[in-house]
């Protein structure tokens, strides 16, 4: 399973060496600004910035492609719905349906921004070990309970995926085939129930083991963060780029978008 977001955090690059706290803050700022852009050319610029960042991290393309795949699955309907449902006059008719460029423009804008954001997110969390990212979040005043639950959940996800695979194999070997009928659904209900019982029993044991080793609700770690000048230089660079992108979007250089197609 390619869910291990930090699989390539060991690769050497200046993004990987970046202090995680500062990395999360500055790229987080970039991500939020990218989500608010309103014109396609500026969105394309932010996409280019995101591509450059992900290139610097040296994370292989096939890993990033996985996340882009999800974006395409989620956003493909917009390309089919928005152009045909946009209020206002239609440019032409397509199989009898009114096609509005404005709606198509909106779909392109949404898609571009989404890819930029996902690439930037991959760059943030793909370039540090996940536990270190989470400890960095805790240092950034993210509530302790939430950080711990995220860490537990992250661990359990891989355990459960293994469990699901094992149970699936058992069901298949007993002749179970997934179909769109009542029987399948009822079996799936029992499947989920069994998964639940097994998971709770397992985590109950893990928790008892943790208690017996002195767990009292705190995570102790040997990780220390030390921000250096170059960490702040990188942050400054991202901040300047982000503000430039935001200002370009705001001052409406590309505003004819209302009439034209971008």
């Amino acid at each position: 399973m390619s869910l291990e977001i930090d699989r390539f955090s060991h690769i050497e690059s200046s993004v990987q060496r970046w202090d995680p706290r500062i990395k999360i803050l500055s790229l987080g700022f970039f991500i939020f600004v990218a989500a608010l852009l309103k014109t396609i050319p500026v969105a394309v610029i932010s996409l280019l910035i995101a591509i450059i960042i992900i290139k610097i991290t040296n994370i292989p393309f096939h890993f990033v492609a996985q996340s882009i795949k999800w974006i395409i699955i989620f956003l493909a309907p917009f390309f089919f719905i928005l152009p045909f449902s946009y209020p206002g006059e239609a440019a032409f008719r397509f199989i009898g349906l009114p096609f509005a460029w404005e709606g198509f423009r909106l779909a392109v804008l949404i898609f571009t921004k989404a890819v930029a954001i996902v690439l930037a997110t991959d760059a943030v969390f793909g370039s540090s070990r996940f536990d270190i990212s989470m400890i960095a979040m805790q240092r950034l005043k993210c509530p302790k309970v939430i950080v711990q639950m995220v860490l537990f959940t992250y661990r359990y996800i891989f355990v459960f995926i293994d469990e699901v695979k094992r149970m699936e194999k058992a069901m298949r070997s007993k002749g179970f085939v997934m179909k769109a009928n009542m029987n399948t659904l009822r079996t799936m209900g029992n499947f989920v129930g069994t998964l639940l019982i097994r998971s709770f029993e397992r985590t109950g044991r893990v928790y008892s083991a943790m208690l017996s080793k002195g767990y009292q609700g705190d995570l102790h770690t040997l990780v220390t963060f030390e921000a250096q000048v170059k960490d702040f230089v990188k942050a400054g660079l991202i901040a300047i780029l982000t503000i430039a992108v935001f200002v370009t979007d705001m001052i409406n250089i590309f505003h004819p978008a209302i009439k034209g197609w971008y």
């Binding site: 449902s85 996902v118 711990q148 997934m178």
Partner: protein, 210 residues
């Protein structure tokens, strides 16, 4: 089922984060350390079950199961769903980072309302089928409420999304039916095999009973 990045307007995104913060603060009040593993188990389960696809004709549909989280965790379902959504956004851009707030309110809100429906079962003496019927109702409620919130978020962003919102609501109908059957079956299975897992059943939690 999730909203992706880059669609919603800034006020809607901000409202999502605000709503999530409020709901999280309310539902996580007085949470004890020993509850952390239990909530984490459910959010991991929510995450994994979301990956299971069921074939329907030419396409397939995946489980949402926020109703089931409500049935098992009660009001702690909100933090569990929230964590699941956060990890989905981090790990594979399922949804996205900027829409975490909206997605949490959407799916977690559905889980909370499913829990209220589930609790109503104490008022109906239906005998053996009680858990199955109310599990099904809770499963359907989870999907239904989420669908309504999704449509509302799309619509409040702009009128051009009206058709998309309607389409999204319609697309939820098969999910709603499937979810109702599966959660109903699961609830009645748990009632037979390990009733104390269900919220408001016998005791509070597995950690105390095992």
């Amino acid at each position: 089922m999730h909203i992706a990045d880059g669609i919603l307007s800034a006020p809607v995104l901000a409202a999502g984060f605000g709503g999530t913060a409020i709901l999280a603060a309310v539902t996580m009040r007085k949470m004890e350390h020993e509850e952390i593993p239990k909530v984490s188990v459910m959010s991991a389960l929510f995450f994994v079950v979301n990956l299971i696809h069921i074939p329907i004709g030419p396409t397939s549909i995946h489980f949402i199961m926020n109703g089931l989280v409500g049935v098992i965790l009660g009001r702690r379902a909100f933090p569990a769903v929230m964590l699941g959504v956060i990890l989905q956004a981090f790990l594979f851009g399922f949804g996205g980072v900027t829409v975490i707030g909206v997605n949490c309110v959407m799916l977690g809100g559905g889980a909370l309302i499913a829990y209220f429906i589930w609790q109503l079962r104490h008022r109906f003496p239906l005998g053996d089928r009680l858990e199955m019927i109310f599990g099904a109702l809770a499963g359907a409620t989870g999907v239904f409420v989420s669908g309504v919130i999704l449509a509302a978020a799309l619509f409040s962003t702009g009128e051009e999304f009206l058709a998309t919102a309607g389409y999204a609501l319609a697309a939820h109908i098969p999910a709603l039916i499937i979810e109702a059957i599966v959660v109903g079956a699961c609830a009645s299975f748990l009632k037979k095999t390990k009733p104390d897992l269900l919220v408001g059943q016998v005791q509070k939690g597995i950690l105390k009973t095992s």
